[in-house]
Symmetry: D2
Subunit: 374 residues, 4 copies
């Protein structure tokens, strides 16, 4: 480490919101000088919408966030939005609580605990044309952005990466039409399938960058078909509002200081409580069966991916999530897995997101936890 690269430190503030336009908790931190607007590198949160196509709580929160930070930084909100990843999952079913985690980084305090400590990096790929979405070109684009985010975080060894959040573009009707007019094809013109393909390509891209998968274009056909291929450290969402693949990467680096550490475990199915306990145990937290209040207070953030099992059963018993015309299947599974993890941590402030294709075992998903070292 040379003097030009002083050690850095990551801060994570998990904040409540009274409604999707309420950024007052962050405004208070900024006012108090506890967080500087220029240090904010990413925001990941849960808003209380339905999590579907017509969930506008994500847009409302994002607009409010960008107005707040834009005013503090003297920058146009729309411009800031193209630089600052804001990953939101709609739907606070059951005991899940609307909240957002603000990730900020700065030069480490002189008295910060020595590293290796949790590091954060971010990167954007070039805009992904509609013709590339859900194809190997997107897999490579994501992989490139993941490698750039590793460099940004100061992490050289893929084994030190703990969790990669990707937000990828999808094929909208307009984009599909433009591609076809330009003589190109799209992997799917159906928006829902395109979103699933983009998530799948994102998961493969993370696997590629982390050395878990070969750069073999023949694997393109495995997207959404070979569910035995998955990455246990990838969490991917899609949005019509993005054109590039946005990456937020977390892992351990000797260049960083501070008390934060992270662990991530694949979940075999929606009842995989042992996986939750394993992730916690890696951080010195004991679920027996629930964290003590002291241990619960050490948790800085928890992120979960899950999926209603497409085979219609969990451990041999029929579930009804996929055939429910009243409640979307993703809302069902978030409520159930959210209830399980919240009960284990004793806390409902969890990022629980559906759409877990290739992000953990088929029918399961993964859990990642950030905690203060004991």
């Amino acid at each position: 480490m040379n003097p030009a690269n002083p050690p850095r430190q990551l801060q994570v503030h998990r904040l409540p919101m009274a409604h999707p336009g309420d950024l007052s908790a962050l405004a208070d931190l900024l006012d108090e000088g506890r967080v500087r607007a220029e240090d904010v590198v990413a925001v990941i949160g849960k808003t209380e919408g339905n999590g579907g196509v017509n969930d506008f709580t994500r847009g409302y929160f994002t607009q409010s966030l960008m107005h707040l930070l834009g005013a503090r930084l003297g920058r146009a909100p729309a411009e800031l939005q193209r630089e600052l990843p804001c990953v939101l999952s709609g739907g606070t079913e059951g005991v899940l609580s609307p909240h957002y985690s603000v990730f900020s980084r700065a030069e480490a305090a002189a008295d910060a605990p020595p590293g290796p400590a949790l590091a954060i990096g971010r990167a954007f790929s070039a805009p992904t044309p509609a013709a590339d979405i859900g194809r190997w070109a997107q897999v490579r684009a994501v992989a490139g952005a993941v490698r750039a985010a590793m460099a940004d975080a100061g992490i050289a060894d893929p084994a030190e990466v703990r969790f990669v959040q990707v937000k990828g573009p999808c094929v909208t009707g307009a984009r599909a039409a433009a591609a076809l007019a330009a003589g190109q094809s799209v992997a799917s013109a159906d928006p829902n399938r395109s979103m699933a393909l983009s998530r799948a390509a994102g998961a493969f891209g993370v696997a590629l960058a982390l050395g878990e998968m070969a750069d073999d274009p023949a694997l393109e056909s495995a997207l959404l078909t070979r569910f035995d291929l998955w990455c246990g450290r990838a969490s991917v969402s899609t949005g019509v509002e993005v054109e590039a693949n946005e990456v937020v990467l977390l892992g351990h680096s000797a260049q960083w200081r501070g008390p934060l550490r992270m662990a991530c475990e694949p979940m075999a199915d929606a009842m995989d409580l042992p996986a939750v306990a394993r992730a916690l145990a890696r951080l010195g937290l004991r679920a027996a069966p629930q964290l003590s209040a002291d241990d619960s207070a050490r948790v800085a953030a928890a992120l979960v991916k899950c999926e209603p099992d497409r085979r219609g059963q969990v451990r041999g018993a029929r579930h009804t999530m996929l055939d429910d015309t009243d409640i979307n299947a993703q809302r069902h599974i978030r409520a159930a897995v959210g209830g399980l993890v919240a009960g284990t941590l004793g806390d409902g402030r969890l990022f629980v997101s559906g759409g877990a294709e290739h992000q953990g075992p088929d029918g399961g998903g993964l859990i990642a936890v950030i905690a203060h070292a004991a």
Copy 2:
């Protein structure tokens, strides 16, 4: 024990259904002689409706059940329905699986393990007039039926009672009008409030019979107001289709044989995983954090009551269940608590029911488990 009272044995069969009209699993048991129609004393199940006023899966299942048993017994389905308690909770949110538990009792097999063992009793109060619903008269009527069910089960000591399921009547518009025409008043003419009052009176009635509460009519005003008063062994539902209070009671009795035992624990809130572990521990089952496959196989049935916390928070974090216009609050809480308990037991075949007023701590509820002794 005299020769006229040979020891009895309870059997619990937890059966799957493909849809609310599918009684084929029970029909098979009857065909195979594993259960005799005349031995069936109660059915408790979860059907895949919405659990609300317009949930007709309960009526559909009940009609199908009564037609099946009526045909085997040579009795009219409508008549049988007035004798055989069939308690259904609609809503198999998240990982919950549609199923029903058939409780049957018969003379114990010669080689049955000696008791004390789990016993079952049932009783019906006289029809409760609309003017009595949600008032102390109903509390006393329920208490009387609980005492009768104890006698039916051969349980003398209230301490040996483990779990009491009550199904009470409510004030429909027609019943309210009739009462008013007769110069009587009703506690509430609002159907939803009347149902809550009936559940509250049911819980107080169980507490009264079990010696946990005094027979003090002044406590009528505590119904739905003093949530510090609760019974940790009462589970109450209401139905427009019943006129009397129906009681199914489970507890330990020396007059019964067999391997079944039961434990019940109050849950302090929707994240009370330790309460689940305690109930299991009382039966020699270890959740560390999840039951082993062997222990899970020992579980014969599990029953849970829960409630979206009316104060809008769980452990200090805001929840959104009560303000959701899209999904009923009871569906939210069943999904979350169902996910928690299913993950602990490794099984989604759980009876999880909302409307837990006075049935366990405010904002929480209770969990009851029936298991085979080791």
Copy 3:
């Protein structure tokens, strides 16, 4: 007409239900001798479910109906169900009212008004194998059943047919697996797409039988693609519970007597109020804009097919039905078109059904009305 074929008369009773298991209105008619059980040839109704895959109100009503008629006829309910078409649409959104129309036929009363009058016929195709569903073979099978139903109704001229209700089978997971195991392919293994294909094939089959379409297997590729091809007298639904194509056909025949007449008009879109007025005008009923009470009383039944416009707009204005994660698009459109037609007729007892592919113009559907001649 020879003495062996005395003139017949159709009766239509439109009856209320208090819930999906309530057949008391029909039981009363049977008790009073106003309808004979053996004369009932078809039932078409609306039940108050969600109209989706997990709508069990249809099964509940059907079971209740078959038990009632089975008891009167001394026949097994399951056997009767294979002979008596019972076409139900779930979902009584908005002002739609749960009801069912009982179609019965018998020898005409001596004083019945002379014909030609409204006639009814029914027929079942042979069971349609999974490999045929959504293919030309199904189109031909439906056409054959329509011709048989015309013969049953005593209608020779296709121009005299007013309305054909078809209930077709679909490819379930089990049927798809069986077909594949037998070395056959299926048009789609996706249940929802299979249902749409079956409806499309049903509409083409009606068009074929009525001489509106050529028997050209090359048109198989037009199913769900060429929405400019449609039949304005076909109403098709699908059900997992049927294996054959069931047909109920209504039209005018000189062999029938009585006051009933029928008219059917295609609707260009969900706002096509003029089409409703045209259908009424054909029956001498004047919507100006609403039927008078006298005219409204002349209406015996009204049946509507409709569809949320797949292009996302109605008359140039964006609608939000297709992107709503909270309410299924079919529920939206039934409520809206139901409100329009109910307001015109002054009556909410309407059969309004979605899934109108090729059953009327793209984005629209059709309306059929049965009324007493003035």
Copy 4:
């Protein structure tokens, strides 16, 4: 008219939105100089949320609107929000289309058609304390604001008022607690009932100001009980975000010029198509049964209030809106009445709002139409 009061002219622009944050259509009008930001006096619109407590599309749109106009006017969005009425109804069920109507006023163009023409006025009452909400004090406060809005509009004769939109405050939990702490009582601490009471008081307030009701405090007890008392020109909504009663009033005045005219008719029930036709006829528009394209183009805006009949029937037929646990009753009725009115006008860009207590006949509501004179 003196030179200090030159004639004014009202403009109404009905604009589409692609999502609740999309104000681009208004931005375009401002950019093109067709509307001046300082002339905008009110916005009334429909956003695509669920219309319930957790509908955040209203807040999202409002924030976006205030940011747009604030930037043009050099004013703080929060400040502007306290001056500019923005009345939104969430829920574009069925064929309803998300849109907003911008009301602006300016000096009349020299060549504007002579009046009397449609005029607009607005006013705010003083903040209404929680203790006054749903009581006669609020009725008087609303009446005062209505009179002020009449003066603002230049309308002296109440008979010339056509439509009054009120947005009133409600009792939130926090406000109730504060009132109780101050030794005051509240009419209801239940938020939903408080909102209904506030709407009722708003309707009475309009009736009072328009001379349709006496200023008799004894009528306070008629709020939500005497549904035979109603005002056919009042449309009231409530919002937790307002503290005063906001009034937007429309009527005819000789001080205004331009082509716009307005008519308003009470609707007897959800099927009152004749009332729609009467309102149109007053403006020279003929629904026979549907407006011609030319007549439809003359309509500038249409506003409807409606309500699911609390007696459970419409014209003698049972509806299921009030007992549906899956879909809120207000969503049902908006879809149905919206479908009816849209079909009559041939246009889905309608403001259709529920919660019509005392705003038109019990179980019905009202319809108001703004159109260009022929």
